[in-house]
C-alpha cells in the first residue's frame, strides 16, 4: 500500500518534469523571510543564473532591476532596487525566498512570485498550473545573485 502510493507519487512527479528531490512550489517552506533548503539539492549554476536574470522569457529580472554587472545589456529597469551588492545584502536563504515568492518577504510587492504555480486569478491557459521558473532556475539565479558582492 505504502509502496504503491510512493510509486504513483514518483510517476506523478516525473510526469510533471520534477525530480524526486525537487520541492514542489506548494511545498516550499518559508520561515521569517527565508527558505533554508535548496529546492533541488543540486548547487545553482551562476552562469545559467545570469541568463535567467536577463532572459525576457525567463526571469526578465532586468526589466525591473538595474544591474551594473551587465553593462552589455542596453535596457535596465527602474521599478525595483538596483541589484548591485545583492549578494552582500542578503543571505542565500533570503534570496531563495525573495525569488520564490517575494510576497512572503515584501508585502504587496509588484515583484512576481517566480516559484508559485497556483492561486492566480485568470491565468492564461498556456501558463496555468505552471511556475514562471523551474526549481533549478531559481537555484541558478540565486547562485548568480550571490556573486553580486559589494566592492
Amino acid at each position: 500500500m505504502k509502496l504503491l502510493s510512493l510509486a504513483s507519487a514518483i510517476v506523478a512527479l516525473t510526469a510533471s518534469g520534477l525530480m524526486a528531490d525537487t520541492v514542489a512550489p506548494s511545498a516550499v517552506k518559508f520561515e521569517d523571510g527565508t527558505v533554508m533548503a535548496s529546492l533541488t539539492g543540486v548547487a545553482g549554476d551562476p552562469v545559467a543564473g545570469r541568463d535567467v536574470f536577463k532572459g525576457r522569457k525567463l526571469g526578465n529580472c532586468l526589466a525591473c532591476h538595474m544591474n551594473a554587472e551587465m553593462p552589455e545589456e542596453s535596457f535596465h529597469g527602474e521599478v525595483g532596487p538596483p541589484m548591485d551588492g545583492a549578494g552582500s545584502r542578503w543571505s542565500e536563504a533570503e534570496l531563495r525566498a525573495i525569488v520564490s515568492n517575494s510576497k512572503m518577504v515584501f508585502e504587496d510587492t509588484i515583484m512576481p512570485a517566480f516559484y508559485r504555480d497556483s492561486g492566480f486569478s485568470r491565468s492564461a491557459k498556456k501558463f496555468d498550473g505552471k511556475s514562471i521558473l523551474t526549481a533549478q532556475q531559481v537555484e541558478d539565479v540565486v547562485a548568480y545573485l550571490m556573486t553580486l558582492k559589494d566592492e
Binding site: 525591473c64 551594473a68 535596465h76 527602474e78 521599478v79 512570485a113 485568470r122 491565468s123 501558463f127 514562471i132
Partner: protein, 278 residues
C-alpha cells in the same frame, strides 16, 4: 580591466536614461491649439496628485509625430474614414452622411463616453455599430478592426482639445465601481493589477518601456509597433496578455467598465485623438 568595464557600464546606463526620457515639460501644440497633457487629478483618482497624458513619456521623435497632422501617421486612417463616412452600405441604402450632415457635429461626444443609455454602458464603438446594424442594415464592424478604429479616430478628432468629462454618478456609479475593482485586481501568472504599473510606477523604466499612467485620452492610438490604429480595449487586452492573464473580451462588460473608470481618472486631460505611441 574590471574598472574600465564598470565604467563602460555606467556610461551605457547614463546614455540609456537620457535617450529614453523625453523633455517632461514639453508642450503639445497641434495646429496652433494647446492640448492639456497635465492636469490636477480629480478627487475620485484618490492616489494621484496629477494626471498626465502618455504623450509626455514618449521619446522626442515619437512626440514630434503628433505635433503636425501631416506627420501623424494616424491620419492615413482618418482619411479612409472620411471616405467611409459617405459610403453607402447595407440594406437601407444609407451612409453615415445620410443622417449626420457633418462629422464636426460630433464635437463634444468623445469626452463624454462611455455613458449609460437605458441601463447599459455604451462606448463609441457600440454607438457606431448601432447605426450600422439598426439604421443602415449593414454588418457590425469588428470591435477593434480597421474600419472601426478609423471611424472612432475621425469622430474622436472632432473633440480634440476638449477636456475628458465622463459621468460617474447616478446610473453610471455601479459600472464605475466595477471598473475600479478591475483596475486594482491582480491577474495572471505575473499577478499584477493595472495599478501596479500605471499608478505605483508610472514615470519609471520597465526594461525598454517608459511607464505612463495608462490614460486613454489619445485613443484610438497609432502605434509604431504595429503601424495601425489600436482601440482602447485592444490595449487593455495587450497589457493583460503581457502579465500572462487571460484577457477579457473586447467590447465586453468588463472592458467597458474599465474604460469608464480609466476615462474618469483622466478627467481634465484633453482629448488627443488620434495619438502616436510606440
Amino acid at each position: 580591466m574590471k574598472f574600465s568595464k564598470l565604467l563602460a557600464g555606467t556610461v551605457c546606463l547614463a546614455f540609456v536614461s537620457f535617450s529614453a526620457v523625453a523633455d517632461q515639460d514639453a508642450k503639445l501644440i497641434i495646429e496652433g491649439e494647446e492640448i492639456s497633457v497635465r492636469a490636477s487629478a480629480p478627487a475620485h483618482a484618490e492616489n494621484l496628485d496629477e494626471v498626465v497624458s502618455g504623450w509626455v513619456y514618449r521619446k522626442d521623435e515619437t512626440q514630434a509625430l503628433q505635433l503636425d497632422d501631416f506627420d501623424n501617421p494616424a491620419f492615413v486612417f482618418v482619411d479612409q474614414a472620411i471616405d467611409e463616412w459617405s459610403n453607402v452600405d447595407g440594406t437601407a441604402g444609407e451612409s453615415c452622411s445620410s443622417c449626420h450632415e457633418d462629422v464636426a457635429d460630433f464635437k463634444g461626444l468623445r469626452p463624454s463616453l462611455p455613458r449609460v443609455e437605458d441601463g447599459q454602458l455604451v462606448t463609441m464603438e457600440n454607438l457606431i455599430n448601432e447605426c450600422r446594424t439598426d439604421r443602415m442594415g449593414a454588418e457590425a464592424w469588428s470591435y477593434s478592426g480597421s474600419e472601426m478604429t478609423g471611424m472612432t479616430a475621425l469622430v474622436g478628432l472632432q473633440s480634440r482639445g476638449m477636456p475628458i468629462n465622463v459621468a460617474i454618478d447616478g446610473d453610471a456609479a455601479s459600472f464605475w465601481e466595477t471598473g475600479k475593482e478591475l483596475y486594482y485586481t491582480r491577474v495572471g501568472q505575473l499577478d499584477m493589477a493595472c495599478s501596479n504599473c500605471h499608478e505605483d510606477n508610472y514615470d519609471t523604466m520597465i526594461r525598454a518601456d517608459h511607464l505612463s499612467q495608462g490614460q486613454i485620452n489619445g485613443f484610438p492610438a497609432y502605434r509604431l509597433k504595429n503601424a495601425k490604429l489600436n482601440s482602447m480595449h485592444a490595449r487593455f487586452k495587450g497589457c493583460m496578455k503581457n502579465i500572462r492573464a487571460n484577457p477579457y473580451k473586447e467590447g465586453g462588460e468588463e472592458f467597458k467598465a474599465l474604460e469608464l473608470y480609466i476615462a474618469s481618472r483622466g478627467e481634465g486631460l484633453s482629448v488627443e485623438t488620434p495619438s502616436v505611441r510606440n
